[in-house]
């Protein structure tokens, strides 16, 4: 189980909630990509030690897709009002390298964010037995939805060749 700490005001900032859930899924900050220096300029002199820690490059045990995604929900905005992160709140934490402009955090999941999640997570139907039954909607890493044939094929792979779930094993959804 993972615990996600959220301040109460983030109920008005869905991107912050999505961002933290994505961390729990295994995603890291866009600006922590090992190749980030090709895309952004980190304003290190304005970052406190706590701020710098959020911009450390991830160089092992990671998986990333595509080029730097400026629309990702996992990107920080360039500016923060937190003095625990920056010395001067009127200066950015980082900016785009190509045009020097500031960056705004993505409002929701970008196409690449969705692809990352779809690469690692498959939606299952809750069952009381050990059969792995897929939900009717399963996304492929490219963002398209699996056909029923593709879904049954995958379901068979997950269940020793058996595409048909035993009857009566579903746990009722009371929500």
């Amino acid at each position: 189980m993972q615990k996600i700490n959220l301040a109460d005001f983030v109920q008005y900032q869905p991107n912050t909630i999505i961002h933290e859930i994505c961390h729990a899924l295994g995603m890291f900050h866009e600006a922590e990509r090992p190749d980030r220096d090709n895309y952004v300029i980190i304003n290190s002199s304005n970052l406190t030690s706590s701020g710098q820690a959020q911009f450390s490059k991830i160089t092992q045990n990671y998986y990333m897709l595509g080029a730097y995604d400026f629309t990702s929900v996992m990107g920080y905005s360039s500016y923060t009002s937190s003095t625990s992160i920056v010395y001067n709140t009127s200066l950015p934490m980082y900016t785009r390298k190509d045009n020097g402009q500031s960056i705004s955090q993505g409002y929701d999941l970008s196409t690449l964010d969705k692809s990352w999640i779809n690469t690692f997570y498959i939606p299952y139907i809750a069952r009381s037995d050990t059969y792995a039954e897929l939900d009717n909607t399963v996304y492929k890493p490219d963002g398209t939805i699996m056909t029923s044939q593709e879904r049954l094929q995958l379901q068979a792979q997950l269940n020793n060749g058996n595409p048909n779930p035993p009857a009566g094993g579903r746990i009722q959804n009371n929500f």
């Binding site: 301040a7 005001f9 983030v10 900032q13 991107n15 912050t16 961002h19 933290e20 961390h23 890291f28 900050h29 030690s49 706590s50 820690a53 959020q54 450390s56 092992q60 045990n61 920080y76 905005s77 500016y79 923060t80 009002s81 937190s82 003095t83 625990s84 992160i85 709140t89 934490m93 955090q105």
Partner: protein, 130 residues
């Protein structure tokens, strides 16, 4: 022959298990460093802004303690629950002995520093401005 294969398989399994365990132990390991500090905690609440990914336009009214650490020039602002084992009451000036733990890599969107109370050295009702 079957017995030999079984023992060989068991040995391979055991060494594979050990290798994976060692890899996981080191790949997931966080480095921590500790130090002790004296905190002088002011009597008035300060109000601070949240850390990113909270938007820079987020409310800047999070109550925090205003702290001067002995030997450190910069003022530190910590939200009221940040010093484990310590309960702050506004209006009092405190001197605290605190254990600071530095964790790297930092928790995502979190702080590299965590704080735990060792001793409340003094607590005095404040009569003036801090």
């Amino acid at each position: 022959m079957m017995q030999a294969n079984f023992i060989y398989g068991k040995t391979v399994f055991m060494w594979t298990f050990i290798a994976i365990s060692v890899f996981l132990a080191f790949s997931c390991k966080k480095n921590t460093d500790e130090k002790t500090a004296i905190f002088n905690v002011g009597p008035q609440l300060a109000y601070i802004a949240p850390r990113p990914p909270a938007s820079p336009s987020s409310p800047t009214n999070i109550p925090a303690m205003k702290i001067v650490e002995n030997g450190v020039k910069d003022t530190l602002y910590l939200t009221l629950d940040r010093i484990s084992g310590f309960t702050y009451t506004e209006g009092y000036t405190y001197v605290l002995k605190v254990k600071i733990t530095i964790t790297t890599p930092a928790p995502v969107d979190g702080d590299i520093y965590s704080y735990a109370l060792i001793q409340e050295v003094s607590k005095s009702l404040n009569k003036g401005n801090y």
